[in-house]
């Protein structure tokens, strides 16, 4: 099933939180600044209902997304008002993939955890937590995974300030 077919199916089963679809498009010939968009289509989902949405994707027999392959975040720009959370799902029986994007405001980056829907989300969320400062409410094990426990700041944010030193070690 392609992304459009998956969206139709999700609408048919009434998956919670589905906002829309973002398809690749050609540049608008009238607008010179518009460069279009290439790559893959993805679904836009409300961040607060992501666990319920993922549950619907996992349990529907037509979609059968048994694997959450990746969950990560992205900071589009230093001035952007929100962070994006990207999820990649995979179905090994139906042989299709789905890309999902949620947006959380940078001022209060908080959303419910998906670790109880897919166990694989647990470590990916830990990484997104330390790297982007997104709070996954209800996470069973919210420790740092790659960074030291006392690391200050969220390194993958575009406005991250590099530290001068770490425990007496110069970072210059």
């Amino acid at each position: 099933m392609d992304c459009k077919g998956i969206q139709d199916r999700l609408l048919a089963i009434g998956a919670p939180g589905l906002i829309g679809i973002d398809l690749p498009r050609e540049p608008d010939p009238k607008d010179k600044k518009d460069k279009g968009r290439t790559g893959e289509p993805f679904l836009l989902v409300d961040a607060q209902s992501l666990p319920a949405f993922l549950t619907a994707c996992r349990d529907d027999p037509e979609l059968d997304f048994a694997l959450l392959v990746d969950l990560t975040a992205a900071d589009p720009a230093a001035t952007a008002p929100e962070l994006w959370v990207h999820v990649q799902l995979l179905s090994h029986t139906k042989r299709h993939r789905l890309a999902v994007r949620c947006a959380v405001p940078k001022a209060t980056p908080s959303m419910p955890t998906s670790a109880r829907v897919y166990r694989s989300a647990q470590w990916h969320e830990r990484e997104a937590m330390e790297m982007f400062g997104i709070e996954f409410v209800g996470h069973p094990d919210p420790r740092h995974v790659l960074l030291p426990d006392d690391w200050v700041g969220h390194p993958l944010r575009k406005d991250y300030v590099y530290p001068e030193e770490y425990h007496g070690i110069s970072c210059k």
């Binding site: 790559g39 995979l90 694989s120 995974v145 390194p155 993958l156």
Partner: protein, 402 residues
């Protein structure tokens, strides 16, 4: 409950009986105190710098917590600071045992956003190198696994074949470990004269050696006893934990990205029926035990040789790289490409806003997700089996930590 909550030693009288002489005989049920063991960061069986905080009750492991990050080198942050073409050498360095596969994943993701076509000869050379590297990576995984379990000799045999593989890579790209050979748009260098015939010779020799590996280690009685029925990952658990690659197939799930969601030439190769996908059946024990995972890796090496042979049969002269400018002009867009790395699904997720540098380069390393399963399968196993389970996961710490 946290792993740090140590239990107090408890003893209780389980049975009490009077002996004929009037003496009392007591059977006391002793609960030993849990001991915490730091396995690593420097431990030969963790294959890199990983720490596993183990809690042990006598000989039995009752809790495990992997600690990562000792090798964190900020690959994703570096990706946001460099131009698209400049990031390629960094991809070599996360999974350093399968650098070709990493180059491949990143190139495919960037090519998907660019929307360019790779010349057919380049695709052939890519497939050959990627499969050769898969053989090399599995040789290390299998050889060092034997080493973990006390079989020293097979390890040396496997390094012999890997040495030849690296010599082949050296001839085609000049490097032995960090190749940067697969570039965005194609490959960096055409095969030198005589390289393809030497490759054919390698395939012939490897096919003969493969039987030795199987008999020497995989079917070795001691090896089977150490690995069968140990570290069982049931299929449902494997899917829940997002395991991919030999771990997922070892748990009896018949799924391979090369056949089921094919990229580049793999669709054509799979249609030709050039390779099959081995998966665990619980031949020596239970489905999803350490032996099944090893079995999948050993069988995959022979399938990789078959794919190389298919490429040798179909390779034809032609250009080896698409025409691209020195500084890539990327359109805005995003793409996720997951490829079948020796350890599982290696995902590259790139976002472009049309600028000179990427907005986001995300690397989804298979080892990172695979190592999480330790939290679930180590408790309840013997301390001696911890080594066997760790080795069967086949982690490369450079990739978990990136």
């Amino acid at each position: 409950m946290s792993i740090l909550d140590l239990q107090k030693p408890v003893s209780r009288i389980a049975e009490e009986r009077r002996l004929p002489g009037g003496e009392r005989e007591l059977t006391v049920d002793v609960r030993t105190q849990d001991v915490e063991i730091n396995m690593g960061p420097q431990h030969p069986a963790t294959h890199g710098v990983m720490k596993v905080l183990l809690r042990a009750d006598g000989e039995v492991c009752t809790g495990a917590q992997p600690h990562l990050g000792f090798l964190h080198r900020c690959a994703e942050k570096i990706g946001e600071k460099l131009e698209w073409l400049q990031f390629l050498p960094y991809t070599d360095r996360y999974d350093y045992l399968a650098a070709m596969n990493n180059n491949h994943g990143y190139s495919l993701a960037v090519e998907k956003v660019l929307g360019i076509e790779v010349p057919r000869r380049a695709q052939m050379l890519r497939t050959i190198c990627v499969e050769l590297n898969r053989i090399g990576s599995h040789l290390i995984a299998f050889g060092t696994y034997g080493l973990d379990l006390g079989a020293f000799t097979p390890f040396l045999y496997m390094f012999r074949e890997r040495e030849w593989m690296m010599a082949l890579f050296e001839k085609i790209c000049g490097a032995r470990l960090t190749y940067s050979y697969l570039r965005i748009g194609g490959v960096y260098n055409d095969a030198p004269p005589g390289w393809l015939s030497e490759l054919e010779r390698f395939c012939d020799v490897f096919d003969a050696k493969w039987v030795e590996y199987r008999d020497l280690l995989m079917l070795n009685k001691i090896f089977v006893q150490r690995t069968a029925n140990v570290g069982i990952v049931p299929p449902a658990m494997a899917l829940d934990f997002g395991l991919t690659g030999p771990l997922l197939r070892g748990s009896g799930v018949d799924f391979d990205l090369r056949r089921d969601l094919p990229y580049e030439l793999y669709g054509e190769i799979a249609r030709d029926g050039a390779f099959t996908v081995p998966f665990g059946t619980g031949e020596k024990g239970t489905v999803g035990d350490c032996w099944d995972r090893t079995y999948v890796r050993v069988m995959e090496m022979r399938e990789a040789v078959k794919i190389v042979r298919w490429c040798l049969d179909h390779i034809a002269p032609g250009p080896i790289i698409a025409d691209l400018p020195k500084v890539l002009k990327m359109p805005p867009g995003q793409a996720y490409v997951g490829i079948e790395n020796p350890r599982g699904e290696l995902g590259h997720f790139v976002i472009s806003d049309g600028g000179r540098v990427p907005v986001r380069v995300r690397v989804r390393g298979p080892s990172f997700t695979n190592v999480a399963v330790l939290e679930a399968i180590l408790p309840g196993s013997f301390i001696a089996d911890v080594i066997a389970i760790l080795g069967s996961i086949d982690v490369v710490m450079g990739e978990t930590d990136r």
